[in-house]
């Protein structure tokens, strides 16, 4: 453990991190946001899911510093009288949860398919990669919207809203796996003819063991790089789906559904219901993207171009 820590302290990763102010700021902001989302039930002044605690009389109160602001609600309230700040914490929590869940799922599918495709090669490879290409050419957002639309019609709106979190994870996971598959396949192709793989084969290890224990660990740095960007993408997709009414319901809002519910009231001047969740979403996605950029520059793996 101690040795690992020392190795980390002397690594190039930490060195370049300390020299890059953008990376440090992004990392700090990201850490704060993730803390906020994990600790939302503790920090948030109100529980937005608690129907009994909501008073419709408090609806559409503007933020504290503007005219008509209320001391109880720092960023104002939404149309149903929920405290906006609390809803945002809980919304961020859901967005992060769905985003990470979806990335985990797409990484599992993508790594599995990428490994098989790269290692076995031949017809299997050609087929799997064509499938990935075709799905990618449809754009992940389109695929996600279509699947969620189908699910919503199939399950009915009520059931869909109950199951929204796992369904969104599945939808976004299935929509974006080709990214991983292509990246993993590309690095497997780079690795599989190296001597250590040859050596492992010569001593008679099984194919699965070689794939999982020998090749897979060496494909991890590109996977790490695209994972950051994929989290940002997944959160964006979730927001887009929720905004379209195909994601989280208004009773359990994510950032996207908060923006959606505020949008109708922008014409009557209630800009804050849309504005603050929107800013939070953009800040989150932006810092993740900036970190991803930094990570790509540092690890500099040969990413699959295209």
């Amino acid at each position: 453990m101690k040795r690992k820590w020392r190795r980390f302290k002397e690594s190039y990763l930490l060195y370049s991190f300390k020299r890059d102010p953008v990376a440090i700021v992004s990392f700090v902001i990201l850490a704060i946001l993730i803390m906020l989302s994990i600790l939302a039930p503790v920090i948030a002044p109100y529980d937005p899911y608690d129907v009994a605690g909501i008073d419709i009389m408090d609806a559409e109160i503007p933020p504290l510093w503007t005219e008509g602001g209320n001391d109880n609600f720092l960023l104002g309230t939404d149309i149903q009288g929920r405290d906006l700040l609390s809803s945002m914490f809980y919304g961020l929590r859901l967005s992060v949860l769905i985003g990470c869940g979806a990335v985990l799922l797409q990484a599992m599918i993508g790594i599995f398919i990428g490994l098989i495709s790269g290692y076995i090669g031949g017809k299997t490879d050609a087929f799997l990669m064509r499938v990935a290409d075709v799905q990618l050419s449809f754009s992940t957002l389109m695929v996600a919207i279509l699947i969620s639309a189908i699910f919503q019609v199939a399950f009915g709106v009520g059931r869909y809203e109950e199951l929204a979190v796992p369904l969104l994870v599945i939808i976004i996971g299935f929509a974006e796996w080709p990214q991983y598959a292509r990246t993993v396949r590309a690095s497997v192709l780079g690795e599989k003819n190296k001597e250590y793989v040859e050596a492992a084969r010569v001593i008679g290890l099984s194919r699965i063991w070689i794939m999982v224990r020998h090749i897979l660990p060496n494909t991890m740095s590109p996977v790490l790089v695209i994972s950051t960007v994929q989290v940002a993408n997944a959160v964006m997709s979730e927001a887009a789906l929720s905004f379209l009414g195909l994601g989280m319901p208004v009773t359990k809002p994510s950032l996207g559904s908060l923006i959606n519910s505020g949008f109708e009231y922008i014409f009557s001047g209630s800009w804050w219901i849309t504005f603050f969740p929107g800013v939070l979403l953009v800040v989150f996605v932006l810092v993740v993207n900036l970190l991803g950029d930094w990570l790509r520059d540092v690890l500099n793996p040969k990413l699959y171009k295209g």
């Binding site: 449809f138 957002l141 800009w271 849309t274 929107g278 932006l286």
Partner: protein, 324 residues
């Protein structure tokens, strides 16, 4: 070359078959064609009779074959809500979406090329750095947020531009166009800016990186050594070779814009295909949903195949590698 085209077209047909199969299964599992025709208030016996008459009790494969045959003849089922053939409904809405995509693509091309080229030629310049910084911010802002921001700024606060709908349209040979009226053009401004905002950062980055790559090559160095004028080197030698990857990636990206039209159209209540699609989902109008899926699928497949074939025509390496 001929073999390459045949291969691409076969693949396109195969993909369309898969899409149609998915669409067909959805309609089988979720939709109820009987309801689509007669509504809810009809007795069970009459429904059964109608099911038999429509061939809904036939084996799955036979029904699928019939579905494909009908689809090829332009019959993708009947919209439950509009009481009209689904394809007709979609074609009614298509001009709105296509005009939006057209104007946005134009904006993207006209803005991204000069900026991208400039950023590639002067990578250390403050303006280029600002552009690159802005582009990563731009990538992080969802298109619906841009759209809402535009509406709030230009429609609610400044009241310069309309916030929803297409405005006055003129019918030109069955195509409802907003290009020919002042009001229609005014309505186009905000949606097209919003839609292009999502593609603009991507294109600027793409053009910049491709151009920078080309500027590093030997023949550009040789062009410099020959003492050619810098405009000649940049635009005649470097930029021309940047265009090829830009066109191929760009062609696909413009297809992807169709997905983002769903978001843009929802915000602006733009009466296009995307808006119609979401309404169809809300109304559980399965036939229309499936028809939209097939039409959009066909659009994507056609765009991709055409782009691939063009790429193959221009760059022989692709088709040789493709043939193996």
């Amino acid at each position: 070359m001929f073999a390459f085209i045949v291969k691409r077209v076969t693949q396109a047909i195969f993909v369309m078959l898969v899409i149609s199969f998915i669409g067909f299964s959805i309609r089988q599992q979720i939709g109820d064609p009987v309801r689509d025709i007669v509504g809810e208030r009809v007795s069970v016996e009459e429904r059964e009779a109608l099911r038999d008459k429509l061939g809904l009790n036939d084996p799955f494969v036979m029904q699928y074959v019939r579905f494909v045959r009908n689809a090829l003849q332009g019959d993708l089922g009947h919209s439950f809500f509009f009481k009209r053939p689904a394809l007709e409904v979609i074609f009614d809405k298509a001009p709105a979406t296509l005009e939006l995509v057209f104007v946005s693509s134009l904006l993207v091309i006209l803005i991204s090329i000069p900026i991208g080229v400039y950023a590639a030629i002067n990578p250390r310049n403050w303006f280029s750095r600002l552009i690159m910084g802005c582009s990563i911010v731009g990538v992080s802002i969802p298109v619906f947020l841009t759209a809402i921001l535009l509406i709030y700024l230009f429609s609610v606060e400044l009241q310069w531009l309309p916030s929803y709908g297409r405005g006055d349209t003129v019918n030109v040979w069955g195509w409802q166009t907003g290009f020919l009226t002042f009001d229609g053009l005014k309505h186009l401004i905000l949606p097209s800016i919003a839609l292009s905002s999502i593609m603009l950062p991507l294109f600027i980055r793409l053009i910049r990186s491709e151009m920078m790559e080309v500027l590093e090559t030997e023949y550009i160095k040789f062009a410099w050594a020959k003492g050619l004028h810098r405009w000649r080197v940049w635009f005649l030698h470097a930029f021309k070779n940047t265009l090829l990857p830009v066109i191929t990636v760009g062609g696909v990206q413009i297809g992807i814009m169709i997905a983002y039209t769903i978001l843009t159209e929802t915000v602006f209540q733009w009466q296009g295909m995307g808006f119609m699609f979401l309404e169809a989902v809300e109304r559980s109008d399965t036939s229309l949903l499936v028809a939209y899926m097939v039409v959009v699928g066909a659009l994507f497949v056609v765009v991709n195949t055409v782009v691939d074939v063009i790429y193959g025509l221009v760059n022989p390496m692709v088709r040789v590698a493709g043939r193996k």
